[in-house]
């Protein structure tokens, strides 16, 4: 596994917040030359620690006022193919994330909608009709915080 020092950790946290920082600007902040910074970033990328980029958008300002987490239990286990369910659920545009989990539910979905009537439409037409979808539990997201994690 990759060994990290304090500068690596700060680089990761900083790039997670803002990917558009040049190696020279980051280097200046941490007292490194531009090539040395570039090599560190390259090493973190090669180890798979730094993944792709992600655009953070304000869903509410874009008209998506409702985010709901759905816990889905598959009906008649053994008769439905997980692959079929996964392929179908991942193709729903309003479904932002799909996680396979162990516990009360089989899958956890993050679903966005314009408002509650729109959510109901997505739920009835796109989720309940998925192959194998059984019990569904819904929790409406009120607030969300993403933390830096153990860096």
């Amino acid at each position: 596994m990759i060994e990290l020092d304090d500068i690596d950790r700060q680089l990761i946290a900083s790039l997670a917040r803002n990917a558009r920082q040049s190696a020279s600007a980051l280097g200046k902040r941490y007292g490194l030359s531009q090539p040395a910074t570039w090599r560190r970033i390259r090493r973190l990328e090669e180890a798979g620690v730094l993944g792709g980029q992600r655009l953070r958008l304000d869903a509410e300002k874009l008209g998506f006022g409702v985010t709901v987490f759905l816990g889905i239990k598959l009906a008649r286990k053994g008769h439905v193919s997980l692959e079929d369910f996964e392929r179908a659920v991942a193709a729903v545009p309003e479904v932002q994330t799909v996680e396979h989990i162990l516990g009360l539910y089989d899958y956890r979905l993050r679903v966005v909608a314009r408002d509650l009537p729109d959510f109901e439409r997505v739920l009835r037409r796109r989720i309940m009709t998925l192959p194998g979808a059984g019990d569904v539990e819904a929790n409406v997201l009120l607030t969300e915080e993403r933390l830096a994690g153990p860096l």
Binding site: L62, E99, P150
Partner: protein, 151 residues
């Protein structure tokens, strides 16, 4: 407010966040200057919150991810605030969400292995204030996690 060109810009950028400003403008059929002005405006309005690198915790040795669904003892007036303030202090907590629904909130926790998780759970989680009930869901796989909005 947003027009169709703004939406197109966000749609392309969201689908391929690593596009350079020039490439993005070209895809949308805009001059770099016009695309840049639209992006700056959407940043000022808070629609675009930022562009960050995705941190891959597995590559950093965090093989286990657990969702803890927590119900709080709401007879204590400030239970949410007190709980959240303390939960934020646990480094392995990477996400905190509050809900309207069957559970009050959810913590995403990462750990190196099950023994490490067990240790965090006992020493840092069960000691958090005002917990009435707690349920653990173990992550098996991420099927979809791009978090794109259906613009």
């Amino acid at each position: 407010m947003l027009d169709d060109v703004d939406r197109r810009l966000l749609r392309y950028w969201q689908a391929e966040p690593s596009l350079s400003p020039g490439e993005l403008a070209q895809r949308c059929g805009l001059t770099p200057g016009k695309a840049g002005r639209r992006i700056s405006r959407m940043e000022e309005e808070g629609i675009i919150q930022g562009l960050g690198r995705v941190v891959n915790w597995t590559a950093l040795g965090y093989a286990v991810e657990v969702s803890l669904r927590v119900t709080l003892d709401k007879t204590q007036g400030n239970a949410f605030d007190v709980f959240l303030a303390e939960a934020r202090q646990v480094p392995e907590v990477i996400e905190v969400q509050t809900f309207l629904g069957r559970v009050d909130l959810r913590l995403s926790i990462i750990a190196r292995d099950m023994a490490h998780y067990q240790q965090i759970y006992r020493s840092r989680i069960l000691t958090l204030p005002h917990i009435a009930d707690i349920e653990a869901l173990m992550h098996v796989a991420r099927i979809k996690d791009d978090e794109t909005l259906p613009l």
